[in-house]
């Protein structure tokens, strides 16, 4: 992947202005697009998705002047177009898939401890919901989730998404806790 220089302050300001006239909203949009690029390319197996996203933003920032006058449409789609090409370039250099993941079992207990601790930082109803969602195995777990959704008066799909959002809040806490234990 050829590296583009990170944008200077002026180019960065122009990039934000292109995303939204309101600087706060522009910053939110910036983070959202960055996050989606990382998560999408991770899903495809790119283990350096943050590098792809960084490079994408550097390239787009270097083109903001021309984009402001010529590009019409959702900026996120332009970012995606650039990211796609950068990913293809990355893929050429990383043809061989990596070996299967190795899980260090000794770390699981630590993670379990951190999960326990971080659940206490959610409100009690949310923590209970997460724990109940993961109760049981196989068919019993599926039946349990349907029951939980019915108790909450929401669809199973809405429950899945609610849990997904709760886990998104839990994860940084767990990583922080693990860093603390390692340090």
């Amino acid at each position: 992947m050829s590296k583009k220089e990170p944008p200077g302050q002026e180019a960065f300001d122009k990039l934000l202005a292109w995303l939204d006239a309101d600087r706060d909203k522009a910053a939110e949009r910036y983070e959202q697009i960055y996050f989606r690029i990382v998560r999408t390319y991770t899903a495809k197996g790119c283990w350096e998705a943050e590098d792809v996203a960084d490079e994408t933003f550097n390239v787009v920032a270097s083109r903001t002047d021309e984009l402001i006058g010529t590009y019409h449409g959702d900026p996120a789609l332009y970012f995606y177009g650039v990211a796609k090409n950068i990913y293809k370039e990355w893929l050429k250099k990383n043809k061989y898939p990596p070996p299967p993941p190795i899980i260090d079992n000794s770390k699981i207990e630590l993670r379990c401890h951190c999960l326990e601790k971080c659940l206490q930082e959610l409100n009690p109803d949310e923590a209970k919901m997460v724990l109940q969602y993961y109760e049981g195995e196989k068919q019993a777990r599926i039946a349990n989730r349907k029951k939980l959704a019915a108790e909450l008066g929401i669809s199973l799909n809405a429950l899945r998404i609610r849990i997904c959002h709760l886990l998104t809040r839990l994860r940084p806490c767990i990583e922080e806790c693990l860093k603390h234990l390692d340090g």
Partner: protein, 260 residues
Amino acid sequence: MALSNHDQAQIREYLLGKLNESEQEKIEERLMVEDELFDELEASKDELVEEYCAGELDKAERRWFEQHFLASPEGRERHAFVLAMDCLQQTRVPVLPEPVVAVEPERTLFQRLWDFLRTQPLWVVTATAAVLLIGTASLMLLRPGPPQHSLALTLHTSTTERAPGEPQYPKVRLTPDISELRISLQLNPYTRAGVTYLVELDDRANKRPIKSIAQDEDSLTVAIPAAELHPGLYSITLSVVTSEGEKRRVPGNYIFEIIN
């Protein structure tokens, strides 16, 4: 716009490498601008990791998933999360039905005394009345000077027992006028209302059961006679005894220190 079943199926296929390049690009474009579809991607990642851990993916899917999503730092983190959740579920208190116990309404001392006297001959009634009079007089004469008090304390579970560094816990000084320490144990997400817990006090040398005197949705109260508490660190643990007689510890400890 609500997601269709087709969208959900496509996201799953996308994660398992079953879409052609053009289909992948269409999905990726939508992921950049559609919030619901992006949420679906995130939820599906967790579900596929669960299926991977449960051995529910077929051989080709398993291989693809290992070499793509699970090869990324995010994939490894989600894999470890599911294993940690399984680990936590194994130590967690199961949901037990509330035991149904037939309880007779408690009778007052007066009611019990009256029932007793109704069935006794006259000389027993006279003797009992005499004993009661003497007993009441003795109590009035021997009553100690200053009143005795309970000291109330509220504790939350501490997970510091396994964490490095100095743990934080309340320090309690018991003055001579305190006859007992009443501790309100705040229940955590692993505990459930309606379950009877076995409460144990650990002074690092011995562990012994203590009685709970009250329980509501959020807390459980125990009373420990002050005479049984000496300076030092104490830990209270909760366990639940399953219908098979198995004792299961509730994660977390309630720690406090008695100081001079």
